[in-house]
Amino acid sequence: MRPEELGAALERVGYFADRDLVLSLFLALELEKPLLVEGDPGVGKTEVAKAVAAVLGYPLIRLQCYEGLDEGKALYEWNYQRQLLRIQLLRDRPEPAAAERDLFSEEFLLERPLLKAIRSPGKTVLLIDEVDKSDPEFESFLFEVLSDFQVSIPELGTVPARQIPVVILTSNNERELSEGLKRRCLYQHLEFPDPVREARIIAAKAPGAGEELAAQVAKAAAYLRTLDLRKKPSVAESLDWARALVALGHREVSPQAVEATLSTALKHRADQEQVAAAGGAGVIARRAGGER
């Protein structure tokens, strides 16, 4: 698939990517390398993986990272209870060595997302979400999967990937990722979409908003992101905002409409105060072009 075709296919599934991202995805697919997508919360990083899975028709396997995530949750775990039950059943069996071999067979293996992606008979999209939330030890643990597409299980040996999965990692940049991890990935930094692209996203995903309202919401969101806010409105929040406006029957971003619905875009009291200090609903409506 050429980059232009990939871009068009992403649009068909409702993801409006700019040329940077399309080219990075194209390279990741062609070179069979993981793609690390970094950017502020809410710019649409996780959606990239979902859209790619939808375009390629591969199942999406998601590993959500958090502090303290270990291989038992990410890779595999032995079904300990089941092993114990088997021990009880085999108590009087004459050849204990065979029984032990039996206990560490695939039958007792609990697959977690990474192993599932590696052992899947068909291609998959593996999303390792918010990798910056995991611990540095876990990052090192990912190296083998990301560079060789295989995992080592001491009792079973090395399990190579049946089909190399499409791997997408996302990071909110809360902590610096290790050089080793970054070296194994292609890199893409995502910014908030420009108002034109965001308007297209809103028009596509918020039915009933119409092009005019979508453009106004996108402009208003772009304006809010220029302010020094604790939490800038994400694309999902602009969508919620547009949906809220539609639900309340507003056809444009007027000061009254902003007053009624701003809490869908700004979720911190300090941010709402800051917006009020910068001129409040009137300025937002003016920036959005909804007040003539």
Binding site: L27, E30, P136, E137, K182, H189, D228, R269, Q274
Partner: protein, 436 residues
Amino acid sequence: MNEEILARFGNDLRRAGVRVGTGELADAARALALVDLTDREAVFLTLRATLVKGAGSLEAFRLVFDRFFAPPETRRRRQEQERLREEERRRALQRSAEELTYREPHPETSYGPEEVRFQLTEEQLLAYAEMPAERRQALQDYIERSFMNLGTNPRIQRSVEGVVAGTINYWRRSGKGAGRGVVVEDPRESLLWRDIRTLSEEEFPRMAQLIRRFSARLGTALNRRYRPGRRRWRVDFKGTLRASLSTGGIPFRLRRLSRHGRRPKLLVLCDVSGSMVEYSGFVFQFLCGLAAAVKSLECYLFAEEVERVTPLLREGLSFAATLDRLTAASRQWGAGTDLRRALDLVERAEAAHFLAPDSLCLVVSDGKTVGRPAAIERLGEFARSVRRILWLNPLPREEWGGAAQFARYAALKECRNLAQLEGILRGELLPRHRAA
């Protein structure tokens, strides 16, 4: 694209501070085979996706790319400009050296040397060239007067040279001479490397974001010890055996141990006296960042008295609002510094809670205080009640003077730009990350 060209490009990136390995260059070569090499933007995006590994390197990459893959006429023009700039620099150096040379007016009757040349660095000579004409003339007059009246013996030469170098250095540091000598396009001249005094208000949000990111790491440091917990990092054999008693000795349920996050207790003392006013923007950004990231934080501003500002920082207002409230509420702004008294007052106010063996004390100050010897002794006593004192000094190390003596009881760190701050947070507060 020719591999040799790619390797040279990689080399240029490394020189600009972007870490590029051979593996990445191999990826880039493979990737370039997939795109149209006549499409400049496609080449740019392809190289960026394969060679850049962090947002911090994007700008450096763009600059190096533009420079490396410039059209021939642009490159020729740039080379010509560089040649002219170099020529002008050499002329300025020569002119400055000439102007600062003292020539004996009557060599035939004098016993001393015919001319005296000073040992000045290139930076000093260039800074001199930038000084206004009347300042340069005043310096020349001073040299001439000194040697004519006092003679040119080596002792006098040394002292005149000291005054000349000192005057030029003062002028350079006062910020007036910052224009030339700085390569404008140097990618390292990014926000991270800029002197924190020169950051403008528009750059505060970006700086705040950086500080928030560094400070967020403070909360993620982990304890060495394992304790029972849900995160399941290690099997707790003792606990598992004990629990197995209830199932007739069969260890049916595994108990686990995990490492818990260390919540650092942080006591922050910020100097807001007159000499620190120009750093206040940085200091408050730093405080707001810390307050957002660290739960157990106690923060005091000090000059002649101390003021507890923790509740204000905890209100969760925006940075601008916090700054407004702080400046309006504080009476310490621009006062003199009395560190000994400040430590006394903090100890009295904060007797038990934050003065504990597991808390870290962070002092942000230039160390210019009245009664320094007494303050040093007092700091020594204070150091015994906390785990460690880390002192961030926004002045360049060579200007610390007597403040360097605080090193007896505190780890003194030069903190003039965000890159240094990051290094300190990484290396000093988070040893685990250093190992990683």
